[in-house]
Subunit: 318 residues, 2 copies
């Protein structure tokens, strides 16, 4: 009902009669008033003028389902959303939902995470209302070993969304760091639930620093606001990311990993550089010469020997 | 308390005074009597004779925790057991427990599964009290792509247990079919929860036909009883499997997949044979020439070209 009332207010963009809304929705004026109060409590600014009716003058800076779903241009990504003001980790909820056969494209959004997860047991700092923290469940028909390309796909989608909306040149450091001027802007965590023969589902987790001020950023990190100098509409950015994610996911399914890797090359700052990586408990150093079709990094040592690196932390040497 | 009373009865193997037990356990004679009744309801045969006391004369044919834990010779596999008379699938419960950080080696046992899972969405027929159906949670420090060897490891453990206890020569058809005289005796399902960088946990599921008569077997299947002609002690067999599983798992961690694959070769009936397999949506045929260190099958076509098969159903051609 809340969403339907919002729908009327949004469509009109001017005063709309309370009689009209309550008549159309089959509720009493009193019930309508109660819902409007409710919306105001959630941060929607709604002006009420006798004889004129209601007018929506501002929406809150929240990733509410009603906001994120509004004019969302996707087929399945974000068509089923769970929203939390605070949560331990959107990944944990996504894993539970995945096991319960939730539809593909289900998205879990949180305004803050008390224990947001990064790679390899690291934590992701998720200050409330500042960033975009979400997990998305996908069910690709691929073998478990082919899943790392989905991390690349997500990184590409984030870069494209930011480039398109804010004209900022974001970079990808293999495999999943999103950088802006060499500082960390975002990260991607991919978790997998699979049989040996097939993937049951994958959860892609995204953490992105958006409207963080300096004091809500960890060292070495940056936010979009630091570069744009004003608050960014998180709803629009999240919608753009979800749309790109779906588009690239469909591209991947139709054309294979090759099409994704081509896009990834465009944003990456790792290939061609001298890097160092912890591999089988020892550091190896060499040139990041190429990326394999499964998303692995090919590292060419000075001896000419090429190592295939499936995961790990790389350091750009210079 | 139940387990403690059973402990006294088992240790004595003769009549043991009720006064003695209740004194040692600090409970009343009446309370002891109630527990004994309870045990009888569960199928334990306990004789009570005035002035002599209680005597355990028979244990039920159930995979109760008290039975499976009794004299179990493992360090972690089966040290934490969940037992169900009936369950949808032990795999589902294991996945939930795995996400909740249950200890490594946690085992979920069921007497029957209403929807026991086989590979690729198939069903595993689990008639009540006839077979052994369990799932075990492991947390190996390996990368996701290295996990298929755990399926081989489990297959080896089952073969060793049956060979040791019943002197039956069981065979493995790649990757995970346990055969006896070319009929299906058991299956293994391996499920994985992982980040791209590390495995969070693996669930190994085992379904084994033990005391099935012909009418509780699907076509093409066999049971141990069909060959031994008498009922097999399921508790002992399960304990033996868990012990072998732990031993091989430790071997794998210490010596790597090579040690497991060597054992696997000994039981396998696939290598050296002409096989056919559905690979990337087309059938390919050739000789099953070897097994790779990650557990993949190497198939050599007549052209000499070698394909690496990571999963799928193979047909032995002759």
């Amino acid at each position: 009902m809340r969403d339907k009332i919002l729908g009327f207010l949004r469509k009109r963009q001017d005063y709309i009669s309370g009689d009209y809304i309550s008549h159309r929705l089959g509720i009493s004026r009193q019930a309508l008033w109660k819902h409007v109060q409710d919306l105001r409590d959630s941060g929607y600014e709604i002006v009420a003028v006798p004889h004129l009716g209601y007018k929506l003058t501002a929406v809150p800076d929240r990733l509410f389902i009603s906001e994120v779903s509004n004019r969302l241009n996707t087929r399945f990504v974000g068509r089923n959303i769970y929203y939390f003001d605070s949560v331990i980790s959107t990944m944990d909820i996504a894993l539970q939902l995945g096991l319960k056969n939730c539809p593909e494209g289900t998205v879990i959004i949180a305004e803050t995470q008390t224990k947001g997860r990064g790679r390899i047991g690291r934590q992701w700092f998720s200050p409330r209302y500042k960033g975009i923290y979400f997990s998305c469940i996908l069910r690709p028909k691929i073998l478990p070993y082919a899943t790392p390309v989905l991390t690349l796909l997500t990184a590409v989608s984030i870069c494209e969304a930011i480039k398109n909306m804010l004209s900022l040149d974001v970079q990808i450091k293999w495999p999943n760091d999103i950088l802006l001027h060499n500082k960390k802007l975002g990260g991607i965590l991919t978790e997998l639930n699979a049989e040996m023969d097939e993937v049951r589902f994958i959860v892609i987790g995204v953490g992105l620093n958006v409207n963080n001020d300096k004091r809500s950023l960890v060292e070495g990190a940056t936010s979009l606001k630091e570069h744009i100098q004003e608050n960014i509409n998180r709803v629009e950015l999240l919608q753009e990311i979800m749309q790109r994610l779906e588009g690239n996911y469909i591209l991947f399914q139709e054309k294979g990993s090759h099409a994704i890797i081509e896009k990834w090359r465009h944003y990456n700052i790792t290939l061609g550089r001298r890097v160092r990586v912890l591999h089988n408990k020892e550091y190896i150093e060499g040139e990041a010469s190429d990326i394999d079709s499964d998303g692995s990094l090919l590292l060419r040592k000075d001896s000419g020997l090429v190592h295939k690196i499936t995961s790990g932390d790389i350091t750009h040497c210079r």
